[in-house]
C-alpha cells in the first residue's frame, strides 16, 4: 500500500507540472478564446508556417540524434513495436466501432486512431525535455512511419466491408497519397537532412530548431485550442449520438495506450522512449489522415472522426494522457 501512497503525490506534481507548462497553458488559452467566442484567430497560412516549422525542427533534431547514437537492439525493438502498433490498432478499432457507426465512418475513424498526431508527440518531447528525461532520435522516424499504414488499412477494411462505392478506391493513387503526403515527407526528409548534416549542421541551426521550438509550439497550440473547441459543435451535428462519439474518443486512446504500455514494459524500453511510443499509440491524426480520408472516403462524415480526434482525444492526451502514461511507466519500471 505504501506504493499507492507514494504514487498519489508524485502523480499530482506531474499533472501540475504539465498543466503549468507554457505550451499547455496556451492550448487552454486558445480553447477559452473559442468557448468565450472571442474573435482571436490565427490565419490559416500562419498556422501552416507554424506546423511546417514544427515538423521540420522535430525531424531535423531526430536525425541529428540518430546520427550520434549507435544502432541498438532497443532501437530495433522500438521501431518494430511502433510499426506493429500502426498495423494492429486500426484493425481492432474498426471492429470495435463498426456497431456504433456506419462502415465508412468506422473505417475512417479506425485510420485516424491507427495513425498518430505529430503535435501530441512534439508536446510529449517538450514535456520530457522540460523534466530532463532523455529520449532517442529514432522515435521521430517511428512517428513518421506510423502516419501512413493506418490510411491503407482503413481503406482496405472499407473495401472489404463497405458497399456500393467502396470498389471505386484507386489503390496505387492511394499509396502515393499516403506515403508522399506533405507532412510525412517533411518529417522523414528533415530527419534525413539532420542525419546527413549531423552535429555540424546542428550547430548552424541550433537557435532555429531548439531556441524557438517551445515558443512556436505555444503559438501553434494556441491555435489548436481554438480549432479543437470549434469542432465540438461539429460533433453535435453528426447523425451519431454525441455521447457515443465522445465516449469512444476517450476510450480509444486509453485502450491503445494500454496495449502500448504493456508492450513497452515487456520490452523494458527506457522511460522516455516508452512514453513516446505510448503517446504515439494513444494519439489520433488530425491532419494527414483526415485529408486522405476526404479524398478516398468522402462519404464518411469528417465531423465524426475529426471531431473525435481534434476536440476530445487531442486535449485528453495533452492535459491528462501524457502525465498519466508517464506515471504508469514510472510505477511499473
Amino acid at each position: 500500500m505504501s506504493d499507492g501512497l507514494e504514487y498519489a503525490p508524485m502523480a499530482e506534481s506531474l499533472f501540475l507540472l504539465n498543466l503549468t507548462s507554457p505550451p499547455l497553458l496556451f492550448f487552454i488559452l486558445g480553447a477559452s478564446a473559442a468557448l468565450l467566442k472571442s474573435d482571436l484567430e490565427i490565419p490559416e497560412q500562419v498556422a501552416k508556417l507554424l506546423s511546417l516549422y514544427l515538423l521540420m525542427a522535430i525531424g531535423f533534431k531526430g536525425g541529428v540524434a540518430l546520427a550520434s547514437t549507435p544502432f541498438s537492439a532497443g532501437m530495433i525493438g522500438g521501431l518494430s513495436l511502433a510499426l506493429a502498433l500502426a498495423a494492429i490498432v486500426p484493425v481492432y478499432t474498426f471492429f470495435l466501432l463498426k456497431r456504433s457507426m456506419p462502415i465508412p465512418e468506422a473505417a475512417a475513424t479506425a485510420a485516424t486512431y491507427g495513425s498518430i498526431s505529430a503535435v501530441t508527440f512534439v508536446t510529449a518531447t517538450s514535456y520530457l525535455d522540460a523534466i530532463g528525461i532523455e529520449w532517442n532520435g529514432y522515435l521521430v522516424a517511428a512517428m513518421a512511419l506510423m502516419e501512413s499504414p493506418a490510411i491503407i488499412i482503413g481503406l482496405l477494411l472499407f473495401r472489404f466491408y463497405g458497399e456500393g462505392q467502396s470498389k471505386s478506391i484507386n489503390l496505387p493513387e492511394l499509396l502515393r497519397d499516403a506515403f508522399l503526403n506533405g507532412s510525412v515527407f517533411l518529417i522523414l526528409g528533415s530527419l534525413l537532412v539532420g542525419y546527413v548534416s549531423g552535429p555540424t549542421g546542428k550547430a548552424q541551426l541550433s537557435t532555429f530548431v531548439e531556441g524557438l521550438f517551445t515558443g512556436v509550439l505555444c503559438l501553434f497550440l494556441l491555435d489548436m485550442g481554438i480549432v479543437a473547441m470549434r469542432r465540438i459543435s461539429a460533433i453535435r451535428r453528426t447523425a451519431i449520438s454525441p455521447v457515443a462519439l465522445v465516449s469512444w474518443a476517450l476510450i480509444l486512446p486509453v485502450i491503445n495506450a494500454s496495449l502500448a504500455l504493456t508492450a513497452v514494459l515487456v520490452l523494458n524500453l527506457p522511460v522516455g522512449d516508452a512514453l513516446l511510443i505510448t503517446v504515439l499509440a494513444a494519439s489520433a491524426s488530425y491532419i494527414a489522415v483526415p485529408a486522405a480520408m476526404r479524398l478516398a472516403l468522402p462519404e464518411a462524415n469528417p465531423g465524426v472522426y475529426l471531431g473525435m480526434s481534434l476536440a476530445v482525444t487531442f486535449p485528453f492526451n495533452l492535459l491528462i494522457g501524457i502525465p498519466l502514461y508517464h506515471q504508469i511507466i514510472e510505477l511499473f519500471s
Partner: protein, 98 residues
C-alpha cells in the same frame, strides 16, 4: 464578345485537386481557382482557419463556349459533389476575345 457559359463551383479544399483533374480530363479550356474561402451550407459553418485545411473551401470559375461543354464538365464533377457536398452554379456570360 462571344456568348459563353460560366461555371462556378464551391468545394472543400482537400478535394480541389480532384476537381482540377476532373476539369482538365473533361477538356475544360481553362479555369481559375480561388483558395481560402469559408462558408456555410448543409454541413454547417466552415471557418477556413484550421491548420488541417479541412474546413477551408475553394471556388472554381470556368468559362466555356458551348452548352455541350458545360454538360460534359458538370457531369465530370457531379460525382465528386454528390459524395461530398458543395455547390455548382451555371450562368450566361460573354467572353471578350483578345
Amino acid at each position: 464578345m462571344k456568348a459563353c457559359k460560366r461555371l462556378e463551383i464551391v468545394i472543400e479544399k482537400p478535394l480541389a485537386k480532384k476537381v482540377a483533374a476532373a476539369l482538365i480530363e473533361a477538356g475544360a479550356p481553362g479555369f481559375t481557382q480561388i483558395d481560402q474561402a469559408s462558408g456555410m451550407g448543409d454541413r454547417g459553418r466552415r471557418h477556413a482557419d484550421d491548420p488541417t485545411g479541412s474546413s477551408t473551401n475553394c471556388v472554381f470559375i470556368v468559362a466555356c463556349e458551348t452548352e455541350q461543354e458545360v454538360v460534359k464538365l458538370v457531369e465530370s464533377i457531379r460525382p465528386i459533389l454528390t459524395r461530398t457536398g458543395g455547390i455548382c452554379l451555371v450562368s450566361d456570360a460573354y467572353w471578350v476575345r483578345h
